[in-house]
Symmetry: C2
Subunit: 384 residues, 2 copies
Amino acid sequence: MRGISIILSLLMLILLPATSSAQQNLWMGDGVRSVEISDSHNVTFRLYAPDAQGVALKGDFLSEGIHSVSMTRGEDGVWSYTTEPLPSEMYYYSFIVDGIGEINDPESVYLVRDVARQMNYFIVGGGCGDLYKPQAVPHGTVSRVWAEMGDTERRMVVYTPAGYESSRKKYPVLYLLHGMGGDEEAWLATGRAAEIMDNLIASGKAQEMIVVMTNGCTHHVAAPGYSEEGMWRPYMSGSMDGSFETMFADVVKWVDSTYRTKAKADSRAIAGLSMGGFHAMQISKSYPAMFDYVGLFSAAIFRGKEGVALYDDLEAKLCRQFHEGVELYWIAIGCDDFLYDENVKYRALLDSLALPYTYHESEGGHIWRNWRCYLTEFAQMIFK
Amino acid sequence: MRGISIILSLLMLILLPATSSAQQNLWMGDGVRSVEISDSHNVTFRLYAPDAQGVALKGDFLSEGIHSVSMTRGEDGVWSYTTEPLPSEMYYYSFIVDGIGEINDPESVYLVRDVARQMNYFIVGGGCGDLYKPQAVPHGTVSRVWAEMGDTERRMVVYTPAGYESSRKKYPVLYLLHGMGGDEEAWLATGRAAEIMDNLIASGKAQEMIVVMTNGCTHHVAAPGYSEEGMWRPYMSGSMDGSFETMFADVVKWVDSTYRTKAKADSRAIAGLSMGGFHAMQISKSYPAMFDYVGLFSAAIFRGKEGVALYDDLEAKLCRQFHEGVELYWIAIGCDDFLYDENVKYRALLDSLALPYTYHESEGGHIWRNWRCYLTEFAQMIFK
């Protein structure tokens, strides 16, 4: 069947006149294979740039401190570079050509946005990378919804697990919060949240659950390009002034009234990365009877604005939260994270109050690679 | 509030160590303003490429037959080009640098994919372009769902109008089909279907409706990157062998059982572009009592595979369809479309059978600019 379709495609292409319009002027050649992963997980990158003076490769698979590596020009005008074997992971890459820092791979359509950059990515399988790939398992639904929070409509991403539509069951809910510069799309794109949840649920490692991904920057109602603000340039901003935490009760109320949720604390979890970890900490203590599961991923614990009443009386509010009941209070951070020291300080505070938490320390710094792993681990521990 | 956030952002950035990881190595500079639209709708493009030998600009706003235009280098290493005033529309652009055909704008995160290319876009407002922008109106929900069709699970995009979640109403459904090389994402990305529907519904010009965007290439279950097929390279393929039409009854059944639909012919419409127009024609005549509204946009009418029983007896099946009742049979095509002649032939066939249709002829060829306009017009005529 595919053979027939290809023949039909070729026939149609022959009939297409050459014009300047988008649909008629499609890519038709074979191009170069720009990312090739060998059986031993060496990755070869290629860029056709016959007239370039120099081409370099950037990527988060390069060793710490190496900004970029030079690619070698072949006689055919194709520049290439092959890595050492790479561990199973999701990686980003871009090219530097004649002084233009970071161009995308013209041969790949696979991009994720992290703040102000669209980055090409690839996934090396055979390990945790397999969790970040869509597998032959039932897939959940991913919805972009608008919900009333405070006095505005705000955009959220909601994952409902496979089978939600055809069942009458009620589900627990994980609220998953992004960091500074992020938005409601971040956990889905760079965080691979839908793939991780599909794969964990299908293998029985995580409970079926709804995952709600909010937008924690209150000066925007949606990710760039999705609201009447138009096509603004994303920047490293966040809200640590109590405004997001204050509207969070509306989020939970809206979710409980819109989806078939188990609307009680033992079926609610909240977790976030960096600023989102700060939000998860503040929200869970501000609504002490709302969440039995809390995850702080590389949390920016002590970064809130001074003088915000919601941030006052931290110790007393934490004690009240734990008194109401916490099944899991999970703190994770990489040993190279710039927020490492304030997490040490925060754990000391919890220790001094005799409040029980679980601590997980990983390699690496303040990076998505860690946050994907933390979500993977956290999702397996909740609602059990 | 934004001022405070920016200060906090800057403080955090100062604390970020320089490493090669993605999150820590974010864009921090101001960059150039790569697309600037003047009050008179002249558009200035800029690319910082200090070491490039030559930079050219491509885009569907250039005059017919012009492949690209040279940009001029400024002393600051920024290349620029300013267009004549452009009509209100959504446009694509890319840069050609030192022989690399089509690189994306490194300063913009706004991309849409058309088959195998991610293309930067911008929108000139003040006319139909305003329909393609998110406006300050209630927004519908956009869901990516997996549904059983035939013996496989396939991915679809479903738009439910603003208010769907909070009401108990039932809604009519428009099934909206893509062309060759497209998939379930095409109408949403390049077609701006969600923005068009939000804006038309908010202004009272279109009825509230659900819009279902299927994947009409039966040799794939989902758009590239969303299934276990992995990260394949999109190509100009389609299914015109009856396989998609055959599974379409399952689509309608699944939609009617999953959403609050008005499950009858006078509340169902089907429309498609190019191959999708062929599908809409074939499906509506194969299930003669299913759709009262049919839209053929630049339809590839006579392109089906020979020997497929579903495609046989065209005249008799069309007569039966019209006998069952058709409220609107709308045929639209551009005067420069390579499928123009076969649409002339198809209208002659309908005329010879005395089957009533409405014909709309526009400027231009086989391009998304036309299909966005056709959707805009068609959506205002149905379910009334």
